[in-house]
């Protein structure tokens, strides 16, 4: 049990359109789970609901907490951090300030400074770009910055929304290598939304497939990789 994330019948509507139509998912502490699905399925909406940015109904618990009644800042403080779609860069601020903002919910102490250095070890390019305006970084650098920024709050669960989007294959590989080593060293759980299923399946323990606001399939990464139907529609082979 511990810090499991349990999503039970979560709904989101925008005006008249019922976007998430009662999805249920479980993410155990320490697991890496991926949420796959075509454009417009509601993947981003799911992550926004979990982080408190979008109003959702149903029941979502994280450990003992009832997430759907919490504000984004409280959800962050409970240990859940989102790497948003589009990277969410503080474009007019420097790279370093972006990282400082990532840790702004914490006490300013040595641990915070150490974490900053740790991020620069994971992502050396960010240290080189430390004083540069973050909006000027390349897409890959901004994605790394988004991950590092989210980690600065010391989350126990990291939500990632299409981290590979728009990046060159070499950069994607580099990014996922770093995510793997972050998982190994920090023991953080991850929920990764991806369209690049082949890539994320090598890394994830389990997968869910979302289509038109409903979970249509789920299973371990191995099961999914052996499933013809999924291979066709999501793994692009």
């Amino acid at each position: 049990m511990g810090q499991d994330l349990i999503i039970d019948d979560m709904h989101v509507s925008y005006g008249d359109s019922h976007i998430l139509q009662g999805i249920s998912m479980v993410l155990h502490e320490g697991e890496v789970v991926t949420l796959l699905g075509p454009n417009g399925a509601g993947k981003t909406t799911t992550l926004r609901g979990l982080s408190g940015l979008t109003k959702a109904t149903g029941k979502v618990t994280y450990g003992k907490l009832d997430l759907l009644n919490m504000k984004p800042e409280a959800i962050l403080r409970s240990g859940i951090s989102l790497v948003p779609e589009g990277r969410g860069t503080f474009a007019s601020l420097s790279t370093e300030e972006n990282l400082q903002l990532g840790g702004i919910s914490r006490k300013a102490d040595h641990a915070l400074e150490d974490d900053m250095k740790r991020m620069y070890r994971y992502f050396p390019v960010l240290e080189e770009r430390k004083k540069q305006q973050a909006g000027m970084l390349s897409g890959g650098e901004q994605q790394m910055l988004a991950v590092a920024r989210a980690l600065m709050s010391r989350p126990k669960l990291l939500l990632l929304d299409e981290p590979s989007f728009g990046l060159a294959p070499r950069i994607i590989e580099q990014l996922f290598d770093i995510l793997k080593s972050i998982r190994e060293t920090e023991g953080i759980s991850m929920l990764i939304v991806e369209q690049n299923a082949a890539l994320v399946m090598q890394f994830a323990d389990r997968a869910y497939v979302l289509e038109a606001g409903q979970i249509v399939l789920s299973g371990t990464a191995k099961e999914m990789q052996n499933n013809e139907a999924i291979l066709k529609s999501y793994l692009g082979s």
Partner: protein, 290 residues
């Protein structure tokens, strides 16, 4: 040359006032995306707070400090109790709210303190330095420079300042890193009102206090804010100072009508900037790669 220096300095001193008001406008514009037309009236009200303190016999410094604190709290509450509720509403809603606030404050001041023109004491006394610049103007320059410097240090060096810049740069990401956006937006309104109070208290000994006192200040201040680009605090300061200097020099060198030209010139600058370069000198030139 001596004439030039004299009017340059006096323009700089008035420009400092414009800079403060322009900055208070920009702070709110950055927070909510709208220009608060009632900024000048709020500053006038702050000045009346100080006036009332003096009438009650408080020492000047205490009256001024009291006004600053009240203005800060007032600005904070204004956001929490009123503007928070219409955040995200259409432009027209905001325009109506600002006009309503303007009229409400203006007529309340008339009701409480009547519309007569009142003299307001300068904390710096009367007198001139070398026939070039008055004590009060030197004081104005020093106080506005000090306030702007303190504010810049606050934004650049403190964590709350960083958080406020984060909100301006990306409100949604600010929420995601755990910033209490609503609280800090209200704080921004508080700081903005306090800045207006400083401007009002400093200008009142020169233009005298009445409910319309800030009308002559708000237009050049808007011009300064627009010239600076509306989204840039530094731009607002540079813009405000520039307008003050231009105005003063024209008043000095253009015979007879120079003084009358102040407001038209400010308006002309607003129009020119909006037509030729809407982003002003420093506004929203965030370099972005796609």
């Amino acid at each position: 040359m001596e004439l030039f220096v004299k009017y340059f300095l006096s323009g700089l001193a008035t420009g400092g006032i414009y800079a403060c008001v322009a900055l208070s406008v920009v702070m709110i514009y950055k927070a909510i995306g709208h220009v608060n037309f009632a900024q000048g009236e709020m500053a006038t009200l702050s000045t009346y707070f100080a006036f009332q303190g003096i009438v009650w016999g408080a020492p000047l410094w205490l009256a001024f400090l009291g006004s600053l604190v009240l203005s800060f709290v007032g600005g904070y509450l204004l956001e929490r109790l009123i503007f928070r509720r219409i955040s995200g509403a259409a432009l027209m809603t905001h325009v109506v709210m600002f006009i309503g606030l303007f009229l409400l404050i203006n007529s309340s001041m008339g009701l409480i303190w009547d519309f007569s023109v009142k003299s307001f004491p300068s904390p710096f006394g009367q007198g001139q330095i070398g026939g070039l610049i008055g004590y009060h103007q030197v004081g104005m320059l020093a106080v506005t420079a000090g306030a702007l410097l303190a504010l810049s240090i606050f934004y650049q060096k403190t964590r709350i300042g960083l958080a406020m810049r984060g909100i301006a740069a990306n409100p949604e990401s600010a929420k995601l890193v755990g910033i209490r956006v609503t609280h800090l937006t209200a704080l921004g309104w508080g700081i903005s009102s306090a800045l207006g109070a400083i401007a009002g208290i400093l200008i009142a000994p020169i233009v005298f206090l009445d409910p319309f006192m800030m009308l002559g200040v708000i237009v050049p201040s808007f011009a300064g804010a627009v010239l600076g680009g509306l989204t840039s605090p530094l731009g607002a300061v540079i813009g405000g100072l520039t307008i003050g200097i231009i105005e003063s020099l024209i008043g000095a060198y253009v015979p007879r009508v120079g003084i009358e030209l102040k407001l038209p010139i400010a308006m002309a600058i607003i129009v020119c900037v909006l037509v030729v370069k809407p982003s002003g000198l420093l506004g929203a030139r965030i370099l972005k790669r796609v």
